[in-house]
Amino acid sequence: MGKKSDIVLIENGKRLDGRKPLEIRDTEMKVGVIPNANGSSYVRFGKTIAIAAVYGPKLLYPKHLQESDRGIIQCRYNMAPFSVDERVRPGTSRRGTEISKVIKLAFEPVLFLENYPKTGIDIYVEIIQADGSTRVTSVNAASLALANAGIPMRDLVVGLSGGKISDTIILDLDGKEDNNSEADVPVAFMPNKKEITLLQMDGQLTNEELKDIIKNVMKNGEIVYKKQIETLKKRYDE
């Protein structure tokens, strides 16, 4: 939608939480948080917290889901009942189904699925607290969990959202910005190959504005990428 409300989201170049337009929230990343999983991670952007686990690759059942020449990714994105203001009823939602699909697609290009015929790699992401940008936070969590599982990847995948409020381009939208911005653009990309693997948009933007947002996301996504690398290195050093 165009301007969604009269809430002032930016004043004197500062956003409601004091951030500059292109500033990313305080971020925390950990791996190996779920001992049972082959790989796992904890990722927090501000108050948005995602926990991801990777199980597999393992032979897929029922058999009719197997592909004879490659592995497949199965992904479930889920919000804990207590993650948002109004309790989320457990079970699948249409929003969850769509997000699960786009996250899955975000990782298809980076895995060597042809090396795992007949298998499935399960990526599970739980949003245990939500304050905007949950799908890109999930992408970062999944990227770290896959790496932590030791599954070879062509590149990591970085997720970051961009948007526009009062003619200003912003990054890493929080919940209030998500609901009231003029546009919201979640992006995931491979930082080395510079390829976009998830791209969606809600709101209204000119072609130029959109280009600008994507450019800024990919530039500042470097920060998120470094944080991922750092987190993985720290783990190896332990």
Binding site: E195, T197, Q200, M201, D202, G203, Q204, K211
Partner: protein
């Protein structure tokens, strides 16, 4: 084999049905296909065939939008339409289709939802947009989005007497003020394709669906399929999509 043939032709910039890369199939827009619905339209794109019907029901406004009607979009991949469609709850792909169609309508502010409030906080019209696939030969997103807007354009608001909806009389047209058009661009081996058939879709590297409104603004996007896109790809795909949207809009 068919796949290989499609690839070979594409290397020469040709398509299996003789179209140019950026050419639509023949498109028929048939508004008012379902007389008994409040609004409806059937769109036939080549062999792809979809019907959208609009129903208005009385609902309760969302607490945070107490004086607005609501938009509810659904899509059913009826098993009549393709051998791979099975009866049962909506598949992942049907869910994605419904949400992409929904987003184009919602984000463009296509319907003036604030005109659909009946009593603040208590009663408002729910606008149901239901996509029904009759035959699937690719490009369901564009066909369904087009049918949805076409159906909304001919939708009428039934009369309300007391609490009863009188569906044989109408108090006016549904307030539709924007015409969002979604055009999906597929990428195969550095070729950008418009209006893909099912065979072409199956071998896409990547696709990008872009919804635009009359003033040229983009109001929704969705990337699909399995490979990454360069920034320059995205730019080119958006440009092509925006250009082709103008052609489609003329059909409304």
């Amino acid at each position: 084999m068919r796949t290989n043939y499609i690839f070979k032709l594409l290397e020469k910039g040709e398509r299996i049905d003789g179209r140019k890369l950026d050419e639509f199939r023949e498109i028929k827009v048939l508004p008012n296909a379902i007389e008994r619905a409040e609004g409806s339209s059937r769109v036939i794109m080549g062999k792809t065939d979809v019907i959208v019907g609009i129903k208005l029901e009385i609902g309760v406004p969302f607490p945070d939008m107490p004086n607005m009607g609501t938009l509810k979009t659904g899509a059913e991949f009826s098993p009549i339409a393709h051998k791979d469609f099975e009866p049962g709850p909506p598949s992942e792909d049907a869910t994605e289709l419904a949400r992409v169609v929904d987003r184009g309508i919602r984000e463009s502010d296509c319907i003036e939802l604030e005109k659909l409030c009946i009593t603040e906080k208590e009663k408002a019209w729910d606008v149901y947009v239901d996509v029904h696939i009759i035959n699937h030969d690719g490009n369901l997103i564009d066909a369904s989005s087009l049918a949805a807007v076409s159906a909304l354009l001919n939708a009428r608001i039934p009369k309300l007497e007391d609490k009863t909806v009188i569906r044989t009389e109408f108090t006016g047209k549904l307030p539709v003020v924007k015409k969002p058009i979604t055009v999906t661009i597929g990428k195969i081996m550095n070729n950008f394709l418009v209006d893909p058939t099912k065979d072409e879709e199956d071998i896409f590297d990547s696709r990008l669906s872009v919804a635009t409104i009359e003033d040229g603004k983009i109001c929704a996007m969705q990337k699909g399929n399995k490979t990454g896109l360069k920034e320059s790809d995205v730019e080119e795909m958006i440009k092509l999509s925006t250009k082709k949207a103008k052609e489609l809009r003329k059909l409304l």
